[in-house]
Point group: C2
């Protein structure tokens, strides 16, 4: 967790910088104490929100599809489309109708998907695809 140390170090620095700035402003009389404190409060609130967001993103399984993984596996555009339809629970015949091609074509694509994902069944392919983060949701 180097990032944690880094972030808290930066925060400490930010606080020190603000202290310097605020005391200087107060001495010079440009700003009122209320204004400075409000600004600091808002600033640190925003920083808190931002940092929490960053941390959350790392912990949560991203719902985004990992395009790099798709390329790494070697799935073609059409094969990936078929995979998505499979994962949605459609049969080969239904996928064929939805994509306006023959069932034979879908079978070919499915076989290729299974090969590339090293799966014996479509359900296993779906599971593996999920683990590889190449499926939305």
């Amino acid at each position: 967790m180097k990032k944690t140390i880094l972030i808290f170090g930066m925060l400490a620095l930010a606080i020190l910088a603000l202290l310097q700035l605020s005391s200087y402003s107060l001495i010079s009389g440009d700003l009122t104490i209320e204004f400075v404190i409000s600004g600091i409060a808002i600033l640190f609130f925003i920083i808190g929100v931002f940092i929490q967001k960053k941390f959350k993103k790392e912990n949560i399984v991203s719902k985004e599809v990992d395009q790099k993984q798709i390329n790494a596996i070697g799935l073609s555009k059409r094969e990936y489309e078929v995979l998505l339809e499979m994962a949605s629970g459609y049969s080969n015949k239904e996928i064929a109708e939805r994509l306006f091609v023959s069932e034979s074509t879908i079978k070919t694509h499915v076989s290729n998907v299974l090969l590339k994902l090293d799966a014996k069944r479509r359900t296993q392919a779906i599971q593996k695809a999920k683990e590889l983060h190449i499926l939305p949701i």
Copy 2:
């Protein structure tokens, strides 16, 4: 977004309260300006983190299984177990081996699961189960 308005109202109030408190402390000379500002910064940082956490939680699809849904659907304990195995990508034969029963039994269970989830195929059953939040992940 009533919550948003509420939260920001509370924040504004908190800032005002802090201003009052800090000016009072400064006048009475109990605290230094640095100490007050640091405290406020830390406080608002924490508030920011907390609020972001709250908001995030609402957006994320809960990974918990919805036991009520399982009951509502009428899935028995064993049927649910089979559903989980199905969703993991196992074949009927594999599930039979894993649960130490015959393949016939699994077929019966699977048929019942499909009926209760109103699905034509196991992939569709998995998809529907996912939507009903009765699958972990």
